[in-house]
Subunit: 358 residues, 2 copies
C-alpha cells in the first residue's frame, strides 16, 4: 500500500506517545523514522517501529529519559542517554555539538547508554542546516566478523559525513561499513533469492550466497569482502566506529553491544552502558568563507557528475543524491509499505488501541 507522509507520521507519533514518550520526544522520534522512509531507506524507517516497542516492553528502552552531559570540555562532551530512544538521544547530542561549534569552530559528542538511532544521515544533516560539516556514527548489534574470523564481533556500524553545497543539494556519505547492509539481506530473504558472493560467510568462514546463513552461525563480511579486496579496511572502519562510539563514551562495544532484537538478551557481562554513538559538527567558515566553500562544492559535484561513463545510461551518482530523489518523489506520491510492515504496524495499533492505517 501507499501511505501519505502525514498519515504515517501521525500514526508513528501516536505509537511513541502510547509508549509514554513526551509529545516533543514522540514528534522527534517519528520525524527520524519518517525521514528514513521518505529518503527510501525503508529498512530503517517504520519497519523498525515494532522493534522499538518490543525493546520498550522488555524495559530496555526508557520512554522518559533524563539525558545528561556527564563530561565536557569547550568542544567535546560525553552524553548519557539514560537508556532512551537513540532517535531522541542522538539529536540531543548533535545539538550540543552544533552549539559548541558555533562558539569554538567544532563540537564532538560521544554518547553512551543509548539505543539504535535510525539513519546516520538525519543527524549529520542537522549540522549541514547550520552551514557546518556533519558527522554521525553508531555501533550496533554484532553481525559482522573481522577479517580472518568467523565470529560476529561488530555491527554494520554506519558512518556518515554530510557537506553543504550551494546550488546542489548536500553531499551525504551515509554507509554501513559492512559489504552489504542488513536491510539488503532481509530483502533477499523475503524474496528467497541468493545474495552475491562476498556479502556473507557461513559458520565455517566460507563465502555463501544463502541469505539465511546468519541463522546458522554465519556472519556478514566487512566492506571489501575478503583480505585480497581490502576487507581489513572495512574491518578498520568498523573498528573506528566502535571505538569512537563506545570505547570513548563508556558504552558497550564489539560483541557486548546489546542486540536490537528483543528476543535476544544483552550479554550478562556488559563492559559499558547501552549502545554508543559519536556525533560531530565543524563550521565551514572555521576554514574558509562559506560562499567560497559552497561554490567549490558545486564545482566538485558538477565535475563528478560529468565524469566519463562506462554505460552511457548510468552516470556517477553523487552520495546523497538517490535519497534526495526518493524524498522528492515520495513527498508527491506517498510512502510505499510492503504488506509485512503494514501488518506489523496494525498489530501495534491493536496493541495500543489506536486507529489502524488503511
Amino acid at each position: 500500500m501507499i501511505i501519505s507522509e502525514s498519515t504515517l507520521r501521525t500514526f508513528t507519533q501516536n505509537i511513541f506517545l502510547s509508549m509514554g514518550c513526551s509529545e516533543e520526544h514522540a514528534q522527534l522520534a517519528a520525524d527520524v523514522l519518517i525521514r528514513s522512509d521518505m529518503r527510501g531507506i525503508d529498512s530503517h524507517g517504520v519497519a523498525r517501529l515494532s522493534g522499538y516497542v518490543r525493546l520498550w516492553e522488555k524495559k530496555r528502552i526508557n520512554p522518559t529519559p533524563n539525558i545528561t552531559i556527564v563530561h565536557e570540555t569547550p568542544t567535546t562532551a560525553t552524553v548519557d542517554g539514560d537508556a532512551g530512544l537513540g532517535l531522541v538521544v542522538a539529536p540531543f547530542a548533535m545539538k550540543i555539538a552544533i552549539e559548541k561549534a558555533k562558539t569554538y569552530g567544532s563540537g564532538w559528542v560521544a554518547v553512551r547508554n543509548s539505543n539504535h538511532f535510525g539513519i546516520s544521515g538525519y543527524h549529520a544533516l542537522m549540522a549541514v542546516e547550520q552551514d557546518m560539516i556533519g558527522y554521525a556514527m553508531t555501533n550496533a548489534s554484532p553481525l559482522v566478523a573481522p577479517t580472518f574470523s568467523n565470529e560476529r564481533m561488530l555491527g554494520t556500524n554506519p558512518m556518515c559525513y554530510a557537506f553543504p553545497a550551494g546550488n546542489y543539494p548536500p553531499v551525504v556519505v551515509d554507509m554501513a561499513t559492512s559489504a552489504a547492509a542488513n536491510g539488503k539481506l532481509e530483502i533477499a530473504q523475503r524474496a528467497g533469492k541468493a545474495v552475491p558472493e562476498g556479502w556473507i560467510q557461513s559458520a565455517d568462514g566460507s563465502f555463501t550466497t544463502d541469505p539465511h546463513a546468519l541463522k546458522t552461525g554465519g556472519s556478514l563480511l566487512p566492506l571489501g569482502s575478503n583480505r585480497e579486496h581490502g576487507s581489513h579496511k572495512g574491518f578498520g572502519l568498523s573498528a573506528t566506529v566502535d571505538i569512537l562510539s563506545a570505547v570513548l563514551s563508556g558504552a558497550n562495544y564489539g560483541p557486548w553491544v546489546p542486540p536490537f532484537v528483543s528476543f535476544l538478551d544483552p550479554p550478562n557481562d556488559p563492559v559499558g552502558l547501552g549502545i554508543g554513538h559519536f556525533l560531530g559538527a565543524m563550521r565551514v567558515d572555521g576554514f574558509r568563507p562559506v560562499d567560497e566553500f559552497k561554490s567549490n562544492m558545486d564545482n566538485w559535484i558538477s565535475r563528478f557528475k560529468s565524469a566519463s561513463k562506462i554505460d552511457p545510461g548510468q552516470g556517477v551518482i553523487i552520495p546523497g543524491e538517490p535519497e534526495l530523489e526518493a524524498e522528492k518523489e515520495r513527498a508527491v506520491s506517498g510512502i510505499p509499505l510492503v504488506d509485512a510492515v503494514v501488518a506489523d504496524l496494525n498489530e501495534l495499533a491493536d496493541r495500543f488501541g489506536i486507529e489502524k492505517i488503511q
Copy 2:
C-alpha cells in the same frame, strides 16, 4: 641489500639538505620517510625520495616554505604550505591541531598548497603521543574512478585514525580508500604477475588482472571493487577525503590534483593551490578519563585478538599491529631495499655529490 636505519636516515637527510631544506626540515622529512620504511610500508619511504627531488627540480616543491595559518577559530585552522614538502607541512599542521586540542578539547586543520605527505599514520600518531585520538588524510594524484565511471577522478586518498591504548600498542587504522593501494600494483608490475579481479579496470571499464592497465587508460577501483560489493562506499570515503582535504582548504580536488610524477604537468586550470590534507586531534580526556579509556581499549584489543579463527594459524589482526611488528624487527635487522631503489638512491647521490649507500 639491508641497510641500517641510521645510515639510511643520514643519507636521506643529506638529500633533503642538498635540495636546500633547512636542517630542521631535512631531519623531519627524513624522519617521515624512514618511519614508513621501518613500518614496512616500503612504497611510501625512501622509494619515493627521487620523486620528491624531481618535483623540486621542476620547481613544484619549495624547499624553504613559509608555512602560515591563513584562517582560524579556536579549534579550526587552514594552513597554506607554500608549496613545501608535505612531509614538513603536515607535521606543522598537526602540531597546531594538537595545541588547539590541549586548550579546547579538539583541533582540526585543513591544509592547502602542499605536496605528498608520506604515510598518514606518522601524522596521526603525533596526537597519540599526547593521549589524543589522531586523524590524518590527504588527497592525491587522480588514479581511481568513481563507481559507474572509467575516468580517473580521485587519488587513493588515504585516511587514518589512531587511538592510544594501555598495555597494547596504539590501534592505527591507516588505509587507502581504493580496493588496493598503488604500491601493491607496483609490486605486481615488477614481478610481472596478474592482480586479483576487482583492483583495476581497463579503459572500457571492465575488470582486468593486468597490472599495467593504468598505462593504457585504465583506473584503480574504489574499496568495494564494484557496485554490488559496495564500491559506492569506497567512492564515498574517497570523496570525503577529497572534500575535507581540498574543497575545505582551498587546494586542488578531484581530477585537478597535481600528479606526483614530475613527467606529468599539473592541470593548467587549477581550482586551488597544490594538494590538500586534513588533520585532527581530540583529547581522550575530553570524553572520559584517560586510564578508563586505555583499559577499555586494552579489553577491546584483547577480545578481538581472541575472536574465533577460520584458519587456526591466522587470528584477527589488530589495525597497526603488522606495522609495529615490522618496526621492531627492522630496528634489529635493518631495512631491506630492493635493487631498483638502491640504484635510484645512488643516482641521487651522484646528482648531489654525496656518499653512496653501500
